[in-house]
């Protein structure tokens, strides 16, 4: 039942910049089970999207370079795979949907042609069968009058419809892994709720593993079973979503959860100031040897500034990388 479809181990990605080498991903590791949804959260620049691009084999090289580690899809090492093998996998076994549906669809082709393209390429269907598959996919993602819509161009569709088309395109070849990079950020909440329901339904019927990149803890709570919290290219905390939301261990995770006002069913009359995470994400070329979060951390210890914290097991399915945990553990 729980078949591991993707394993990432010690992934290192570097970018050459004018100011030196930027370590964009550092020792990133996780695995995804069939039919499961993994969330990746963090601020912009923390490496969420770069993790996705590495899996897709789309890291721009140069200036980027995968400096080490392994990405295994059903046991196959993707980093060693040839470009033509990657082209077979992309869109077929591993698909991605992007944040902005307007800019990621081609404006001069009908949506039907765009969905049909990947099935013709990967499954060798003829034009007519590919068109039928496109209609079928549009129906599956809940687009009314699919036979008519299939002949329309992206500009004729609303934002929610375009994102549905993106999902139809990504799922047309029944991939084992779907990477959704902020799939609903550009959408209204009522439409976002529809897209979330759709993803869950489709996942149920196809057992696709979903990696959802987001910055919204609400979306994490709603959609994911497991979550990975990233900061400055490192995984600082990971584990079961319910565990992490109710009992976060890393100060960064705690900050991310409490720094945005969450909608409450019964608002209280008093409104205490929100918890702030002071400062900004550090520049990746100027990281020292210590914990990258130390300059912004409210639980910082002298050791944090000099030594990189080690990832420790903090629960049955919960890990965090923070020296303050040790200090607390020793005190208790």
């Amino acid at each position: 039942m729980t078949e591991t479809v993707l394993e990432v181990e010690n992934l290192q990605v570097e970018f050459k910049t004018r100011n030196g080498i930027a370590r964009v991903l550092n020792d990133v590791g996780f695995s995804v089970q069939r039919g499961q949804t993994l969330g990746i959260v963090g601020e912009s620049g923390c490496g969420k999207s770069m993790t996705a691009l590495s899996i897709m084999g789309l890291v721009p090289t140069p200036p980027g370079r995968i400096a080490g580690g392994q990405i295994r899809y059903l046991g196959e090492d993707l980093l060693a795979a040839s470009e033509s093998r990657m082209r077979d996998l992309r869109g077929n076994e591993v698909s991605m949907i992007f944040q902005e549906p307007m800019t990621s669809l081609n404006p001069v082709f009908t949506v039907g042609e765009q969905i049909a393209e990947s099935v013709r390429l990967h499954e060798g269907l003829n034009k007519r069968d590919a068109r039928d598959r496109a209609v079928e996919m549009l129906k599956a993602v809940g687009i009314p009058a699919a036979e008519r819509r299939v002949r329309e161009y992206p500009h004729q569709l609303s934002g929610g419809m375009r994102q549905r088309v993106m999902i139809a395109m990504a799922l047309a070849c029944r991939p084992s892994i779907l990477i959704a990079d902020e799939p609903t950020t550009a959408l209204d909440v009522t439409v976002q709720a529809q897209i979330f329901d759709l993803l869950k339904e489709l996942q149920e019927s196809t057992q696709t593993a979903i990696i959802m990149i987001t910055h919204d803890m609400g979306a994490v709570a709603e959609m994911t079973e497991r979550v990975l919290v990233m900061y400055a290219g490192r995984v600082v905390e990971d584990g079961l979503t319910t565990e992490i939301l109710t009992n976060p261990k890393h100060p960064y995770t705690k900050g991310l959860i409490s720094c945005v006002p969450h909608l409450e069913a019964e608002p209280k009359p008093e409104r205490p100031p929100l918890t702030e995470i002071p400062g900004v994400v550090p520049s990746l070329t100027e990281l020292g040897t210590g914990c990258p979060f130390a300059p912004r951390c409210n639980e910082v210890l002298p050791k944090c500034r000099s030594d990189m914290p080690v990832t420790e097991q903090t629960g049955p399915d919960h890990r965090a990388a923070c020296w303050a945990l040790d200090a607390k553990g020793a005190a208790a």
Partner: protein, 345 residues
């Protein structure tokens, strides 16, 4: 009426009174025979903003919330209606009189990247409104700029930097300082945190609240983020397709939403609050209809799960149910029973 000059209103009177505001945009005709359509962006909106409070407008894209804000700023022309600031009618003001009243109202924009001139130094950006509106003598303006920088948490030497040298959160601080410069009474905040990284949003929201407490500012706060609105606003209007469909104070709006749209909107928000998980959900079908030539009757009827023939036929007026809780829905009982309650949900 304008010659009379500003009338000093009693301090318990609302600072801003918007009445029957309409902003319609005419579309070009497609050919000679058919008339062009009209976008009813804001169509008969009325509300009062009490002094020293934060009045929120929420809604999805196309609801008219930003157009309402821009009309209050006199940055788009209202088609009809009335906007009174401190007892002075603002629609129809021109030239010097308009400039004078604009001192009392300022705006903070959504995108701190496009709302600051990249070729002007931060200090000058904050100073500009003082120069334009001729506030104080030129020498005292430097001190005022330094004071403003300190107030919003920027260092004095940062006045010499250009916008690209600041992070997103710092740029929004410059935007806040610029809005504060002329000591306005009303600040329109148009999605002030939605372009910022999650971790930075709290910094700006806390800053806005501190400044409100210190200077007794009144905010007109536009947002699509219900969590932010719930935290920041004292009184909230929910807009849908150019109309206010519900308005109440923050406690009663979130605790007892009456309009089916408000209820749907609230239940669509994914939440990490354990108390909300597993609560009754409603899913709206489809997208909001276009504000070009909207349907007769209630504008929400086409997506409303409870809509009746009456809803499709006649437009429900905004009526008061209980202390200040107003709703525009035929199906809400006079005793305040909402349709989603009476339908066994």
């Amino acid at each position: 009426m304008n010659e009379a000059g500003p009338v000093t209103a009693p301090s318990d009177a609302p600072l801003l009174k918007v009445k029957d505001l309409c902003v319609h945009f005419h579309l070009p005709r497609k050919n000679l025979m058919t008339p062009g359509g009209t976008v009813y962006a804001v169509d008969g909106v009325s509300f009062d903003v009490p002094r020293g409070k934060t009045f929120g407008i929420v809604g999805e894209s196309g609801s008219g919330k930003s157009t309402t804000a821009l009309a209050v700023m006199r940055l788009v022309n209202a088609t009809s209606g009335s906007i009174e600031l401190n007892g002075t009618e603002m629609l129809g003001l021109e030239g010097n009189e308009l400039r004078k009243i604009r001192r009392q109202l300022q705006i903070i924009f959504q995108d701190p990247f496009s709302s600051l001139n990249p070729r002007v130094r931060a200090g000058q950006i904050v100073r500009e409104p003082l120069d334009l509106m001729d506030v104080g003598d030129p020498a005292s303006r430097d001190d005022r700029v330094s004071e403003l920088f300190a107030k919003v948490g920027l260092r004095p030497e940062q006045q010499a930097l250009f916008p690209h040298q600041f992070s997103g959160g710092q740029r929004q601080r410059i935007g806040v300082a610029r809005a504060l410069a002329t000591q306005p009474e009303l600040i329109v905040c148009d999605e002030p945190v939605s372009a910022l990284d999650v971790a930075i949003q709290a910094q700006i929201l806390n800053l806005l609240r501190e400044l409100q407490n210190e200077f007794g500012l009144t905010y007109l706060f536009i947002s699509h983020d219900l969590g932010v609105v719930q935290y920041v606003c004292d009184e909230i209007a929910v807009m849908y397709l150019g109309r206010v469909v519900e308005q109440a104070d923050r406690i009663s709006l979130f605790k007892t939403p009456l309009h089916p749209y408000t209820w749907a909107l609230l239940s669509a928000v994914p939440s990490a609050d354990p108390a909300r998980i597993g609560t009754e959900r409603i899913r709206l079908q489809g997208d909001p209809p276009s504000p070009i030539n909207p349907p007769e009757g209630c504008r929400f009827a086409s997506r409303c799960p409870f809509a009746t023939d009456q809803c499709h036929a006649s437009d429900p007026p905004l009526r008061t149910i209980r202390n200040g809780h107003r709703v525009a829905c035929h199906l809400v009982g006079d005793d305040g029973t909402a349709p989603h309650q009476s339908h066994g949900h």
